[in-house]
């Protein structure tokens, strides 16, 4: 029986706690009697037979939706869209959930004699996946059956011939979707829900739309009014996505398949990352020492290569299929079952140790913008109710924050960092002054469509993602980060955590209360 997450009140006997620091770790001692550590729940038991569960979900759909075989018939146009490289994190061991589900869907399509089947990676404005990445996500059988015949596509949000404008929502949001999707008789969307933000109408409203549509929910206003991104009813980003998704569903029949994972994020060789410090065995302690000291000896590129090669032993904990909203409700319940941790009250300071990987740097570099996005965007938003830190409190991030960018994956990030941030760090100002130019820049558009680059506007979105935290908190300090890079973003650098806590006292007063959110493994704090 996996143990639930819990909050440890730090006293003088509490050992130093593990803190992620990019491609490495730190052991940090927290001030006694006024600090607490939020520990994630242990991984749930996986489904005993995931393939049988998938088949059952396809045959017994949720909501107002017939079983999948009844929606399949010869002569139809079937499109299967699936989540891209940004999920799950770290990438999971094969077989990936997408492979399992799509193989089951294709089995039924083959039985029904469906010839016109196209697979689309729902990239949204993310970079295209390489063949190796597609093969890893889908498996050899699917890749070899579809890719050579041009039936395995990647969504192109800038293809003038590949998009269709379906109309506007009641709030005036454009719905411009992938043409193949719009002209299909059935869209099967295959989802991996790592966190509560994923899935539902957001999958289609982000992954298969153009910039004209995405800009309606990926903007500063939506993100400042999403309290939090993990709490759909209180998220403006999701409200907009829902309106867009509902309009799409009026034009195209959508059969949604959502899967959830347990938070078994690291292989047994790195078991210490999943354990509480006082439960570390001799082996765990030896592994920690070897990993942290060994990583320090490697060059940044070698260190990155080692960490990016980690495959998570994630296992499927649930699968549900059918009508989008009914499916998503069941999915959210299953995510909460794995990730929810009750926390009483807010603190003056919250600390996040940031790992080496986020949604946008799989097989890539965690550049300073991504550090900002992961810390103030994702980790800060991992709450229900209210943030872990009080209004005007301080966020402390631990990450090396190197001044390094992947020139192929993140070209617009480089210009954003060099051109925009020295001018202003205010998201509203940035949106007003720079967004359109970055979004419509021909060179970025060309790289997005033909190379492996994120869309030009994606660098903006990385900054918007932290808009809620920037507005809500009194400051951000990054421990152990590149000082120039940290200052460029308007944050304060600190050499040690103790220094950072001292500096934070200038903002929140003496003897502040501290919450350390010990993730990953991922969790969702329900703050009362």
């Amino acid at each position: 029986m996996p143990r639930p997450g819990f909050v440890l009140e730090v006293d003088r006997a509490t050992p130093p706690v593990l803190m992620w620091h990019g491609e490495g770790f730190r052991l940090e001692r927290l001030p006694a009697e006024r600090s607490r550590v939020v520990y994630a729940p242990e991984p749930l038991a996986p489904l005993p037979d995931p393939d049988a569960a998938i088949r059952r979900a396809l045959l017994e759909p949720l909501g107002d939706c017939p079983p999948l075989p009844q929606l399949l018939h010869a002569g139809m146009r079937l499109t299967i869209a699936f989540d891209d490289l940004s999920l799950p994190l770290p990438p999971m061991r094969r077989p990936d959930n997408r492979q399992r589900v799509i193989e089951a869907v294709l089995d039924l399509a083959a039985e029904a004699g469906v010839d016109d089947v196209v697979l689309i990676a729902a990239l949204g404005l993310h970079r295209r996946m390489t063949d190796a990445e597609l093969r890893h996500a889908l498996g050899d059988r699917i890749f070899d059956a579809f890719a050579p015949h041009g039936k395995l596509l990647q969504h192109d949000a800038e293809d003038p011939d590949g998009l269709v404008h379906l109309g506007k929502t009641e709030k005036g949001e454009d719905v411009e979707v992938n043409r193949r999707v719009a002209e299909s008789d059935l869209l099967v969307y295959v989802n991996i829900n790592l966190v509560a933000m994923d899935g539902g109408h957001k999958s289609t409203a982000t992954g298969l739309m153009s910039y004209r549509s995405v800009r309606h929910h990926h903007n500063v206003r939506s993100l400042q009014h999403s309290r939090s991104l993990m709490d759909r009813p209180r998220s403006e980003l999701h409200s907009s996505s829902w309106r867009i998704g509902r309009l799409l569903a009026k034009h195209v029949k959508v059969f949604q398949v959502e899967t959830t994972l347990n938070n078994d994020a690291f292989p047994p060789q790195m078991a210490f990352l999943q354990k509480r410090e006082w439960e570390w065995s001799v082996r765990d302690r030896a592994t920690f020492l070897a990993a942290s000291n060994g990583a320090a000896l490697l060059s940044p590129a070698a260190r990155r290569a080692v960490f990016q090669s980690v495959l998570a032993p994630h296992a499927m904990t649930s699968v549900q299929a059918g009508e989008v909203e009914a499916v998503h409700e069941a999915t959210i319940a299953n995510i909460h079952r794995q990730q929810l941790v009750d926390v009483e009250g807010q603190s003056d300071i919250v600390i996040f140790g940031l790992p080496y990987i986020g949604p946008y740097n799989v097989n890539s570099i965690m550049n300073p913008l991504l550090v900002h996005c992961l810390g103030l965007g994702y980790f800060f938003n991992m709450y229900l109710g209210k943030p872990l830190v009080r209004p005007g409190g301080v966020v402390i991030l631990s990450h090396p924050t190197p001044w390094a960018f992947h020139p192929v994956h993140h070209p617009s990030y480089i210009d954003f960092f060099e051109e925009v941030l020295p001018t202003t760090t205010d998201p509203v100002e940035i949106e007003k002054t720079f967004e359109e130019r970055y979004a419509t820049d021909e060179w970025y558009r060309h790289l997005y469509r033909t190379s492996y680059a994120f869309h030009g506007v994606h660098a903006m979105y990385m900054w918007y993602w932290g808009a809620h935290a920037l507005e809500y908190t009194g400051g951000t300090i990054i421990v152990g980060g590149n000082r120039r890079a940290v200052r460029r973003m308007g944050f304060k650098p600190a050499t040690t955590l103790a220094d950072a806590l001292e500096m934070a006292e200038d903002v929140v007063g003496r003897g502040p209360t501290i919450t350390y959110f010990r993730a990953p493994p991922l969790m969702l704090a329900h703050v009362h």
């Binding site: 003088r12 006082w278 570390w280």
Partner: protein
Amino acid sequence: MSISDRVGPLGLGPARGSRERGSSGQGAEGPALDLALGRLREALLPSTGKLRPPWPFPLGAAPWPPSVPRPPKRPDLGVNYATDWARRYPVRLARAAWTELVTRPLMAAIAQPSTEGLDRFESTEAPVIFAANHSSHLDTPLLLSVLPERFRHKVVTLGAADYFFDSRAKAIYFAFSVNAVPIERVKVSRSSADRAQALIEEGWNLLIFPEGGRSPDGWGQPHRGGAAWLAARSGRPIVPVHIQGTGRLLPRGAKRLYVGRTKVTFGWPLYPDLPARQLVGRLEDAIAALADEAATDWWSARRRAAQGATPPLTGPDASAWRRAWALGPSPKDRARRRSPASAKRWPAGYGS
């Protein structure tokens, strides 16, 4: 709870925190000494009040936070420890080599055993249940080292689950070296009994100490019913065994091992033709008679047994010191007598 609260009841005086809050007017060396003591206390005493491991985390284990409940004991240890691996053929071969090359020479050197009564069960068919008195950790290896060869490598020792199987290292060592299987010492649970009977049915001889643990004072303890109950259930005979002398070489709680002589006396097999409850008493009488035989001679012991005058294994019914006195001098005392302190000095007149 602060550190000072925790260390107070342990009699180590106030910790640094309480000194800083409350004390004043001490001499110049007082605060410095208190500070040093306070730091020492904090280094040594975590919240549990137990000594902290010598290496700081992560070189050593981190202390368990007092507010976090410990999970239930690992279910694969204790009485649930699976010892099947120790009865696989390669392990049996390795154990036979261990017994012949390590255990027997070691026991011959340390305990110098003499045996009596091996002829009494030479025609008895295996499997049997060996039931012996128990006063030392030497009992099991000693007994295994003197058993006839046809039994020696086919014996399972029933060991207390809470003692021999409470850690993985101990469990592996005892399962390998003496083919131990865990058993609950306070009661014979159904699972333990089923396991023991299954082993007998597979042809394994059992070695069991019916007293349930080593003697706390050198004298025997009342028998528990496990051996008799297993014999009654399986229909196999019990061979009573008395081991003399090991309690002197390595008694309970001893910090060092002494070298000396021991004697192992085997009795006639007892067949379970009585109810288990009566068999317990018969077994106890048989081992007491063997103890008498080891102390005197067979004929005297038989006569006393016939008259019902065999000295009880549990020793005289007297005060604690008289019971201790009746055991005779300890090996330590004897060693001192053999080598008086003066003998260790330089020879008289040396260098004069």
